[in-house]
């Protein structure tokens, strides 16, 4: 673990000529993401951050930036370790987190109490940005479950006409927050879920099949699924192994896009699978692309040899959200400048994030005052996106994510 960190640190030094030159001490940006179980999500977040920073010459407020990569593997205790590493670092400014709500949910109090400037491009649980017990240090530019449930339900019920959803949720804080929002969204439409099933991580395929049989036997016509890629794959495989009359459409949260779901459940298998999932309203694959989006794509292609086209950006949500979030961070730093004292700067920048008045052009949208001071009355104050920014999407034939045009 230490070796990995040192290697990453060294690589960052090499990446950053300013640091090597030793002009000013580097500002450390942490990325505590899942680099093991949902590798694609972690990498795409990193690339989003790097591309955005690259646009600024890898500088923040005149300081060179080092991106320090940590891997929580989806584990709360492991994430806590990483948070402690951040705290132990005198030059750590902000911490990007990613993929998986549970570590954030479990460590939320610690984060806020320890004043860790947490930027969330990919963790959807509603409570993450809603900390009622003090200063709120978590900002999100991502799907928010409080809205995701509504968006999924709205599309499935209002647009597609399903009426008997069966909720299939992982046994975590994220799963439970979705249970609430989805149930609420359904109730709003006078619908009760016909069933609810919880599953643990490392769910087995046979257990998944039993769940799907029960779902079908309950008379459901659609499954609302909240799962990450590993369990998402298991459930998809289980579905594909069942008889045709047991197969049901799946309307999923976006957790499955964080890993190698599209690779493992390939285009041919997906032909037998009616699967849609929520995404934010931007895709490099949309027919019309702004000049900014084109330049970002171009820069990305330049920076990463494996990216030759838009469809080569895997887990694009991580990239898009991280890029936009970094843009917001850059703007906030620009607004207040940095003192060089990271601990002090964290608070300054946190406050600046809440008052970004300069519009920031991102990939998803042009951000006008994206954040505000949080209070019980303004639960979305730390949410950069609204439900209008979320749509349903499908996997294309080349495993690319295609937004469903409504």
């Amino acid at each position: 673990m230490k070796k990995l960190l040192i290697t990453l640190l060294l690589s960052c030094f090499i990446w950053n000529p300013a640091a090597l030159a030793g002009e000013r001490p580097a500002v450390h940006i942490y990325l505590d993401a899942d680099r093991s179980n949902a590798v694609e999500s972690g990498e795409s977040i990193e690339r989003g951050i790097r591309v955005a920073l690259a646009e600024e010459g890898n500088q923040l407020g005149g300081y060179p930036v080092e991106l320090i990569i940590a891997d929580h593997r989806g584990s709360t205790p492991r994430s806590l370790r990483n948070l402690k590493s951040y705290l132990a670092d005198e030059r750590a400014l902000a911490l990007f987190t990613g993929m998986h709500s549970p570590p954030l949910l479990a460590n939320l109090a610690f984060i806020n109490q320890q004043k860790i400037l947490t930027l969330d491009p990919w963790a959807a649980a509603g409570p993450i940005t809603r900390y009622p017990d003090g200063e709120n240090w978590v900002f999100r530019l991502s799907v928010d479950d409080t809205k995701a449930g509504e968006v999924i339900t709205q599309h499935a019920v209002d647009v597609e006409g399903f009426s008997k959803p069966y909720l299939l949720l992982e046994e975590t804080g994220w799963g439970r927050s979705n249970e609430r929002t989805m149930t609420a969204a359904l109730r709003k439409r006078g619908i009760e879920a016909v069933g609810l099933e919880w599953f643990n991580w490392s769910l087995g395929e046979n257990a998944a099949k039993s769940i799907l049989r029960r779902a079908r036997d309950s008379g459901a016509d659609v499954i609302f699924m909240v799962a990450n890629a590993p369990e998402g794959k298991t459930i998809a495989r289980a579905m594909l192994s069942l008889d045709l009359n047991y197969r049901m459409p799946i309307r999923s949260h976006w957790g499955i896009t964080g890993g190698d779901f599209a690779l493992e459940i390939g285009p041919e298998q997906r032909q037998n699978l009616d699967l849609k999932f929520i995404q934010t309203r931007f895709s490099f694959l949309n027919s019309t692309q702004s000049s900014h989006a084109q330049s970002v794509l171009q820069r990305t292609k330049n920076m990463y040899e494996d990216v030759n086209s838009a469809s080569d950006i895997s887990a694009p949500a991580g990239f898009i959200h991280a890029y936009d979030m970094t843009r917001l961070l850059i703007q906030a730093v620009k607004d207040v400048g940095l003192s060089g004292n990271a601990r002090a700067d964290r608070a300054v920048v946190r406050n600046a994030m809440e008052v970004i008045n300069t519009p920031v052009v991102g990939l998803i949208k042009r951000y006008e005052k994206p954040f505000a001071a949080f209070s019980a009355a303004t639960p979305d104050a730390h949410e950069a996106l609204g439900s209008e920014d979320m749509v349903m999407a499908v996997y294309g034939e080349n495993n690319e994510i295609l937004l469903v045009q409504e």
Binding site: P77, P103, N200
Partner: protein, 624 residues
């Protein structure tokens, strides 16, 4: 000095060897057995102790395997990933966990060692930031078994990782009391003569089983747990067993040795001594002439067979040589006989030749005087006649008166004195008798000449009867005084023969017959024609011939006569002569009653097979 026998020699050597071997084998085997048993015991101990250690390992491994299943439950995995949210689920789940029916303390910890849930709250345990646990999790190890101690009780700590998608996110730590493995002595009771002390450094962790007298100690480390297994072993039973085994072995070897000695003795006797004794007996028999049979060559052993074979070859060679010697001896004897015979013949022929010459000379010399005596006698006879005639005339004249009486008387007285009358009367018979005597002399001389056959030494066709008669004339003088000769002559055909020699034979036989008759006796001489041969029999009523002499009668120089009376060559020469004529001479004799010699001569020439016309005619029989 009597020499030792092979069988007992073999038995002694075998016995000595076997005893030596037995002692050596016993020593060696005892040593080896002792070593082997010690080695086996060592191995047994090593195996046993390894098994015991293995039992411990297996005991823990079995439980570890079940515990590994516990770690795979999704709720356990998620429990370490999201401890706070999962706490309730995890506690509900873990509360009922058992391992092989036993409820051990199982503690689920996160990657920093924070306890998420523990099935037993007592004794309290704090695994936070334990280096071994952090190391275990960071190294992503698959199992750790270590020893722990609470309240002076020792536990095995079985640490198993809780993994999610390959990486360790926490651990399940299970504590199993060390003594639990030996519940009610179930385990240690099965260890024969072995007790065990588990040590961690100087500290005694656990003791299993008891032995009364430990003769050996053995230590085995259990490195990965940092323990040492100290075994105490009671070997007294083993030593007893070893002594017993060695004793049995010694007795067994002694018995086997004894059996081998007996077998060697009998085997040596049967296989080695018997053939040799057989050879010895056979050679002795052969030497004594009791047997000339070759030895059996089909003997058990190659060597004795070869000896027998060699012996037989030697025997054959000796027999051949002996035969050759005999043959040469016979040839020599024959040659000797022939030589003697030739010599005798030579002597006889010389004698005969001398006799013949002398006879011829004598005859010649006698013939002349005999001739003129005969002639003179004849003349004298004539003279006598004339004288007688004259005297008659004279007497007549005297009767005439003219003659004075005186003269007459004178003449008459003179005549009476001279007995002239008798003289004149006897003169003629005298001359006749003398003439007869001279004739007889002439006859004898003629016979002598004829007998000696001075005139014909060659074979010629002759009637043997003539020869016989001639011969009788020669020998008659020898016979006439004490023998009565009975002659019986058949009419014989002439045969080709040397009559002089045959005469000699018959003379010989007649003289022998005469000599055999001491006082007075009879000699029967006969001839006959039997089938194709002429038989001449000369039988006497003399003393006969002893049986032992019969076979040797015809041997040269053999004689029964007193020294000076015979040469011993007569019959030998006779035999030779008869054989020369293709005939045979045999003798039949009964001692005290006489002997009978039979000469058989084949009828040859034109008379062979011809039945004589007068063969049936009565033979001429005479007795003299």
């Amino acid at each position: 000095m009597s020499k030792p026998k092979i069988a007992s020699g073999i038995a002694r050597v075998t016995a000595f060897s076997i005893v030596l071997l037995g002692v050596l084998v016993t020593l060696l085997v005892s040593m080896r057995v002792s070593d082997a048993m010690q080695e086996a015991e060592q191995q047994r101990l090593e195996t046993q102790t390894a098994i015991i250690v293995g039992e411990f390992r297996q005991y823990l491994q079995d439980r570890s395997l079940i515990l590994q299943d516990h770690t795979r439950f999704a709720v356990m995995r998620q429990g370490v990933m999201q401890p706070l949210q999962m706490e309730g689920y995890v506690s509900d789940f873990m509360a009922d966990l058992t391992v092989l029916g036993e409820s051990y303390r199982e503690t689920l910890v996160d990657l920093d060692g924070n306890t998420i849930y523990s099935t037993h709250s007592e004794p309290a345990a704090d695994y936070r930031y334990q280096p071994w646990l952090i190391d275990f999790i960071d190294q992503n190890r698959s199992q750790l078994i270590r020893l722990s101690q609470y309240d002076e009780r020792f536990f095995w700590q079985v640490v198993l990782p809780i993994r999610y998608l390959g990486s360790t996110e926490g651990a399940l730590i299970t504590e199993i009391p060390v003594q639990a493995i030996n519940e009610q002595g179930k385990l240690s009771d099965s260890w024969q003569g072995i007790s065990l002390v588990l040590r961690a450094g100087e500290q005694v962790v656990a003791e299993f089983g008891q032995v009364s007298a430990a003769t050996r100690k053995l230590s085995l480390p259990w490195d990965d747990v940092g323990l040492v297994f100290e075994f105490s072993i009671d070997e007294s039973e083993l030593l007893k067993a070893r002594r017993g085994l060695i004793y049995e072995l010694v007795v067994l070897i002694a018995l086997v040795s004894l059996v081998i000695v007996f077998i060697a003795f009998y085997w040596g006797k049967r296989s080695l001594v018997k053939p040799i004794q057989y050879l010895k007996q056979a050679t002795e028999d052969m030497a004594d002439g009791r047997s000339e049979q070759p030895l059996k060559e089909d003997l058990i052993w190659q060597e004795t067979s070869l000896v027998a074979k060699g012996f037989n070859q030697m025997l054959q060679t000796i027999q051949q040589r002996e035969q050759q010697l005999r043959n040469s001896n016979r040839e020599l004897a024959q040659t000797n006989d022939e030589l003697k015979h030739s010599q005798a013949q030579l002597v006889q022929s010389e004698k005969m030749a001398g006799l013949g010459t002398m006879a011829a000379g004598v005859a010649h010399e006698i013939n002349n005087p005999v001739g003129f005596v005969k002639s003179n006698l004849s003349t004298m006879n004539d003279y006598t006649t004339a004288i007688s005639q004259y005297l008659g005339e004279v007497n007549t004249v005297l009767q005439q008166d003219a003659i004075p009486d005186s003269i007459r008387e004178q003449l008459k007285s003179q005549a009476e004195t001279l007995d002239i009358d008798f003289l004149t009367a006897d003169m003629e018979p005298l001359i006749n008798e003398s003439q007869e005597g001279v004739n007889r002399v002439a006859d004898i001389v003629a016979s002598l000449k004829s007998f000696a056959r001075l005139d014909s030494a060659e074979m010629e066709m002759t009637d043997i009867t003539d020869g016989i008669r001639e011969t009788l004339k020669v020998v008659w003088n020898e016979l006439k005084y004490h023998c009565t000769l009975h002659e019986e002559y058949a009419t014989l055909p002439p045969i080709r023969c040397n009559l002089g020699q045959l005469n000699q034979v018959i003379m010989n036989l007649l003289l022998n017959a005469a000599q055999a008759i001491e006082d007075k006796g009879d000699i029967y001489l006969s001839t006959a024609v039997v089938a194709d041969e002429i038989q001449i029999r000369v039988r006497d009523t003399g003393c006969g011939i002893p049986a032992e002499a019969v076979g040797r009668l015809f041997t040269p120089f053999y004689t029964t006569k007193p020294v000076g009376k015979g040469t011993g060559l007569g019959l030998s020469i006779s035999h030779g002569i008869v054989e020369k004529h293709g005939g045979s001479i045999n003798v039949e004799s009964e001692p005290g009653k006489g002997a009978c010699f039979i000469i058989r001569l084949p009828i040859t020439g034109e008379h062979a097979g011809v039945k004589l016309d007068d063969a049936d005619t009565e033979p001429t029989v005479m007795v003299r």
